[in-house]
Symmetry: C2
Subunit: 253 residues, 2 copies
């Protein structure tokens, strides 16, 4: 039987999703909890990796097992043994032919920043601080250039092992919102898939465009003939959250 | 010369505001930074203590010093040496006769909770998780009972050294809000001053009233003839934030 989990995590203390040597990862932490709980080795397959320090509100993963526990009880059973910074939000039986990675149609990430005169420690854990004022119009102008099918090689860390650096971005927007701890500016991007560091470099390039360090023409060029020097900085992982994965027609909630 | 600082902090890693032996506190951390920066011992006087693990968006403190640095530059100078979980939001010269503790008229705290089927790690650092649904009407009904001048002895941890346990609560409300990471329920309370653990026990009592563990009549009794058994639980520090201190006619921003 194949099961699907929707998983949220605060990635601060983890070396990303994917299991690796000499570092604690989300995948490994959940696999260990599940293997112990079910008394058999469990191997998780996620929609994709998230990088070190990146968070998730809606990571999706599947695993194969034969369990006597009803599918909807798996979430609470896992949460009872998982650390507080990882939570399985729901568990269910996977639809026929479902694969958390291969069936994914779109992914939505949000990169959060906050602007002001001084750092606010209550915003700082999950958002990047920018000293000064925000010009949301310029940010949105820059972000709109990313929409479409492009070679994003210039937005990709060199350690990426991707076969192709061509990706499709469906939608981008910057929006402001006010929450209890302060005002935040969020960069929301939906795409077919993303390269290593790609969202953080898109967000940093839009920011550097607002700050006059990169021009709109640089961004256009960077997407037709990729060159790292045309794009802006890669913002730190703490501001990035994988919000949701779209599996239409499959829906999980 | 007397100076006023407005300070924000993530209290998670600190044993509260007030300097004590064998534990790192906010006061001590800022005093050390200031003493090093100014080359003379600096003693901070805050509006009041915050307990271990409690956060602040608008703690106010004064100190006396003779500095060549312009008052408004002190904030950035301190922030350059403070750890990222403490930030001085503003610095200015204190008005004549100002004392951060004695001049305080009102304080506003917010206790944050979130309701749902399962924990959300992205809400969990600064809010208390309650499994189930929220009945904001019952919470507000319970909270309204706290308004007025009462003996809050039943809401006070026994280790308090307060001379009197009578306090005045001016306003209370529960309200729901939606931020990026999820829906939150906040208990906002404004009072002349608060006893050790008082806000957390008021929030816990309102919650336990909603859950049927405490009745409105228990709460009324607890305020006329204090008895600990009449009130609900003391919620954990992580959900509590000192939002602002009212010094009218003095205003800092």
């Amino acid at each position: 039987m194949r099961y699907v989990l929707i998983i949220a995590y605060d990635g601060t203390e983890y070396a990303g999703w994917q299991t690796q040597k000499n570092a604690v990862t989300i995948q490994e932490t959940i696999e260990r909890a599940a293997s112990e709980l079910f008394g058999a080795e469990v191997k998780l397959h996620a929609s994709g990796r998230t990088d070190s320090g990146v968070h998730a509100l809606g990571q999706v993963a599947h695993f194969d097992a034969s369990l006597s526990l009803p599918a909807e009880k798996i979430a609470d059973a896992l949460n009872a043994v998982l650390p507080p910074d990882i939570s399985v939000l729901s568990s269910s039986v996977a639809p026929d032919g479902f694969d958390a990675n291969l069936s994914a149609k779109k992914k939505t990430y949000v990169y959060r920043m906050y602007f002001g005169k001084r750092r606010n420690p209550m915003c700082d854990r999950y958002a990047f601080f920018v000293r000064g004022e925000c010009d949301i119009g310029v940010l949105n102008g820059a972000a709109s250039l990313f929409v479409g099918e492009h070679d994003f090689a210039a937005y990709c860390a060199s350690k990426s092992s991707a076969k192709t650096t061509v990706r499709t971005v469906f939608e981008t927007k910057f929006y402001e919102s006010e929450d209890f701890f302060g005002r935040t500016v969020s960069f929301e991007v939906t795409g077919g898939g993303f390269l290593y560091n790609m969202v953080r470099t898109m967000a940093g390039t839009a920011l550097d465009c607002m700050l006059g360090k990169v021009t709109a023409s640089d961004i256009e060029k960077s997407l037709s003939s990729p060159e790292r020097s045309l794009v802006g900085r890669t913002l730190p992982a703490k501001g990035l959250t994988l919000v949701s994965v779209d599996y239409s027609p499959f829906v999980f909630a």
